[in-house]
């Protein structure tokens, strides 16, 4: 099929969580006949199990749809999927940058929600044309006209002709397709100009190496061409280019305006950074595309093999994940309590949880994760400046002149009802209030400066709990700030367990120490002997709890039928033991390491 640039439409779908983004994507794919319903697994774009289970999109991908419009012309619609979480905001911005328009899906029963707005702003940042769609009109509580007005009032885009649809029932999907053709601008760009192609995603498979998903902005890319990654400076020879339908289909070339993939014997995704510009070695572009940023980890934690798990297996698994995830970093480290393991860096807490879950599910590993930490800067008395992510590496206080901690600019979008509660929370988390913006009468954005180490502690959970899930949080690193920080140590049965050590603000040390000790009493099972749990700062005990000795763990009756039952019980106990680490004579369950961070509803 001959591709005319004016018949291409590149777009994303943006929505608040649960407003029906993935379902709409499915319907668009189905209605353009790319896949039959039977072929289609539900929500084809979210291909990882984890994504489907959590209903969030982590890895972005694209798919090319062919649509015969009412005007009789065939159009190529490139749907580019975006991840849906603040941790991946940069990746979202890059995939939006590959588009000219975005479909905004709004739930006809719920109206505009916090994430709707956040996503609209991201799209507007990339100068995208917003195409509103009102979804879920099949529900009895749908109020499409009110919601239309809400979108017009709050976001300020015309909703007169917004399609009223039900993605679930497949209602009025054609109107969405027509609206894309009519309202999303055609791409521009000269196919004869020097090559500029934006990488918006990449993944690794052992057969082809790295496959990059690209949007050609200028020029043409074809096999045999020598290309250069403008940010990393790496050069490769193009092996194959093509488009994504239900599978990869190789093509002769990709021209300005097109979306597709390229392979070039690339061994590692770190060489194909998202946001980088691909150009032609022989006819290079003068400037890369704007907006490239090397994404740096913000949150670190230790990952260790659980009892009976092998260090090398964990390393192999991390390596395999890393070829697909350039933002995951790790290096070996040693803990006195946990032995050999890895210090890993993540974009944020969700990214961290995803990696942990993938290690457990996809690689079937039993791992122990230590409390997350951020990077602290330490100025020593001798003038040396250290950056540490592992609290155990903190030099003795006598050698430290001062310490600095990372500060983020946080934007919390919330209905006005919760402003008081959020302010109290931020205050409690050492936040500095910057300002409050009214988005509408009942909705505001609170701007705060917050120490990142408070954000990763239990801020998300607290925010969710205090606002019944209505508030959303976005943050970006602002810089470093001098702060009075201390290392808080935890002793179990008299032994310092380095994996529990945390760096905390001096005002928080006592409270945090006590909370952790109390939590550990709840999570660590009772042993044959009493186990003291202590929190200490600089060798001084600031809190103490005791896990009482186990007095009785015996089955009184054990006859014929009891044996199977007893074995089941023992098997369960044994399974539980696998997820523990022995620290001295004490078995500490995996959850203990993270439970110390969990938000306590009572407080």
């Amino acid at each position: 099929m001959q591709i005319k640039q004016e018949n291409i439409r590149n777009f994303s779908i943006i929505a608040h969580i649960d407003h029906g983004k993935s379902t709409l994507a499915d319907r668009l794919i189905e209605n353009t006949g790319m896949l039959t319903t039977r072929e289609m697994q539900e929500q084809v774009l979210d291909s990882m199990d984890l994504e489907r289970e959590r209903g969030i999109t982590i890895k972005l991908k694209s798919i090319r749809l062919i649509y015969k419009a009412a005007d009789g012309e065939d159009y190529i619609l490139n749907l580019i999927d975006t991840p849906g979480h603040v941790d991946f905001n940069y990746e979202v911005s890059r995939s939006l940058a590959a588009c000219e328009g975005a479909i905004l899906v709004v739930d006809a029963t719920q109206g505009v929600e916090a994430q709707t707005l956040a996503n609209v702003y991201l799209a507007l940042d990339q100068d995208l044309e917003i195409v509103p769609v009102i979804n879920k009109i099949d529900l009895p509580s749908a109020r499409p006209n009110e919601v239309k007005k809400e979108v017009e009032d709050i976001i300020g885009i015309d909703c007169q002709d917004a399609p009223l649809i039900s993605a679930k029932e497949g209602l009025n999907i054609d109107q969405v397709l027509e609206s894309i053709v009519k309202n999303v601008p055609r791409p521009t760009g000269d196919k004869n100009a020097p090559l500029k192609a934006l990488i918006f995603d990449s993944y690794y498979d052992s057969y082809k190496g790295v496959t990059c998903f690209i949007r050609v902005k200028e020029g043409t890319i074809k096999p045999g061409m020598n290309i250069k990654m403008m940010a990393t400076g790496k050069t490769f020879e193009v092996i194959e280019v093509g488009i994504n339908t239900s599978r990869h289909i190789s093509t002769k070339q990709l021209e300005a305006g097109e979306v597709g993939y390229v392979t070039a014997s690339i061994k590692n995704v770190t060489e194909t950074r998202v946001g980088d510009t691909i150009t032609d070695v022989d006819n290079p572009a003068k400037e890369p595309l704007p907006g490239y940023k090397k994404v740096l980890p913000m949150v670190y934690c230790g990952i260790y093999p659980a009892e009976g798990e092998d260090f090398n297996t964990v390393r192999d698994a991390l390596e395999k994940l890393q070829v697909n995830d350039a933002s995951l970093v790790f290096e070996p480290e040693t803990s006195v309590a946990l032995g050999f393991g890895f210090r890993c860096g993540f974009l944020g807490l969700l990214h961290m949880e995803i990696i942990q879950e993938r290690l457990e599910r996809e690689f079937d590993l039993n791992i122990i994760t230590t409390a997350p930490s951020v990077i602290y800067k330490i100025k020593k008395n001798d003038g040396e400046i250290l950056e540490i992510q592992n609290p155990s590496n903190l030099p003795p206080t006598t050698e430290v002149e001062y310490m600095e901690e990372p500060i983020v600019n946080a934007s919390i979008m919330t209905p006005t009802d919760y402003v008081g509660a959020i302010m109290e929370l931020c205050q409690n988390k050492r936040g500095a209030f910057l300002n409050m913006e009214y988005l509408e009468e009942t909705r505001v954005v609170l701007h705060y400066e917050l120490p990142l180490n408070e954000v990763i502690y239990d801020f998300f959970d607290a925010l969710k709990s205090k606002t019944r899930g209505y508030a959303s949080l976005d943050y970006e690193l602002k810089g470093y700030k001098r702060s009075e920080l201390l290392k808080l140590d935890i002793l179990i049965n008299g032994e310092l367990v380095d994996a529990f050590s945390l760096i905390v603000h001096e005002e928080k040390a006592y409270e945090r120490g006590r909370t952790i000790a109390e939590r550990l009493v709840d999570v660590i099972p009772r042993h044959q002997f009493a186990v003291p749990i202590q929190a200490s700062v600089g060798g001084k005990i600031i809190a103490r709890e005791t896990i009482r000795a186990l007095r009785k763990d015996v089955l009184a009756k054990c006859y014929g039928g009891d044996i199977s039952r007893k074995k089941k019980l023992l098997e369960k106990q044994k399974e539980g033991k696998k997820r523990m680490r022995s620290i001295g004579a004490v078995d500490v369950p995996q959850e203990a390491f993270l439970s110390v961070l969990k938000y306590d509803e009572k407080k």
């Binding site: 044959q528 007095r551 015996v554 009184a556 009756k557 014929g560 039928g561 044996i563």
Partner: protein, 343 residues
């Protein structure tokens, strides 16, 4: 013929190579049904299996359900051991835990049984019961010991999910002894029973010399047994299998001449060894190292040396020249040891 008897007959050919040495009629309250059913069932068993080595036939009896006619019938049917479900001699406690019998029923039953010539009588007792304190328990024990009963089973109360007791417990209606008192009750009882020449031969079982329950020893030595009736369990041909627990399914299968088995677990060598050790630890005689070697053709050290050392160090087990046994502390915490013996 009853479906139970049909089930028994179905095993005739399957078990033709086995000899029967003990029978145990229990589960529910077998003493409450008409003795004719017991007679017929036992007759059927005697006809069906090789009983030349049969030497112990036990029936479980609820003291509130017994009379002299029943006792005579049991005797005539070849029953030679009685297990009386007493639990406590404190009538308030008996009422709280929903027993239909009184302490008087127990004494009456016991004397009748002795008069009719039963010389192997077990009494089931419990500790850790709601409203029970140490003197109450000791009082029951002393009175039972004074009767010179042949065998005593003494169980700590376990609150199981889905029971009425659990419901009361959750609602805070039960005045249960705390953990420390519960353990004190157990260890005090061990002392008292020992002083009175009851050998503590299994975690919860005590007997006069030679009066151990041979039937239950089969379970603890992981030897083959057949269970018949609703929800009964068997251990035969390297399998543990169990019958349907719903009467309708049970009846339907029997009437279609199919064994009413609901499920099975294959016991491979690893599991058999684990079971042997786990059950062996329940016995005072412990795991017998030579017997282990003879039965499994390997030394116990091959699999379990580290675990044995660990728990000897923890003072939960004792290692003797030819055996491994739980210590007093191990009796309280045996699950901690046993879990490590699982494959």
């Amino acid at each position: 013929m009853s479906n139970l008897n049909k089930e028994i007959s179905m095993y005739k050919d399957i078990l033709s190579d086995f000899t029967l040495s003990t029978i145990f009629i229990g589960g529910g309250t077998p003493s409450s049904i008409d003795t004719v059913y017991i007679e017929k069932t036992l007759e059927n068993v005697y006809r069906t299996f090789d009983i030349r080595k049969l030497n112990e036939v036990t029936i479980e009896i609820n003291p509130g359900t017994l009379n002299r006619q029943k006792i005579k019938s049991y005797k005539d049917s070849g029953i030679n051991r009685i297990s009386l479900g007493l639990q406590s001699l404190n009538d308030n406690i008996l009422k709280t835990i929903g027993r239909i019998h009184s302490s008087k029923d127990f004494f009456d039953s016991f004397h009748m049984l002795r008069e009719e010539g039963f010389h192997n009588i077990n009494v089931d007792l419990m500790f850790g019961l709601p409203g029970q304190d140490l003197p109450t328990l000791e009082n029951t024990l002393i009175k039972v010991i004074d009767l010179d009963v042949d065998h005593i089973s003494l169980y700590g109360l376990i609150i199981e999910n889905g029971t009425l007791i659990k419901n009361w417990y959750d609602r805070g209606l039960l005045d249960l002894p705390n953990e420390d008192l519960e353990r004190l009750m157990y260890h005090k009882s061990l002392g008292l029973l020992k002083e009175n020449n009851y050998e503590h031969y299994e975690v919860s079982n005590f007997s006069k010399a030679g009066k151990e329950c041979k039937h239950n020893l089969t379970y603890w030595k992981v030897e083959p047994y057949l269970g018949v009736g609703l929800n009964s369990h068997s251990n035969l041909f390297n399998k543990r299998f169990w019958n349907h627990s719903k009467l309708a399914s049970y009846n339907k299968l029997i009437e279609s001449h199919i064994l009413p088995v609901e499920g099975e677990e294959i016991i491979d060598k690893n599991m058999e060894i684990a079971e042997y050790c786990i059950m062996g630890l329940r016995l005072k005689s412990g795991i017998n190292k030579n017997e282990y070697l003879f039965r499994f053709n390997e030394k116990i050290d091959n699999r379990y040396r580290k675990i044995i050392d660990k728990h000897v160090h923890n003072n939960l087990i004792k290692e003797n020249y030819n055996s491994i046994t739980l210590t007093n502390k191990g009796l309280d915490l045996s699950n901690l040891v046993e879990v490590d013996f699982m494959p």
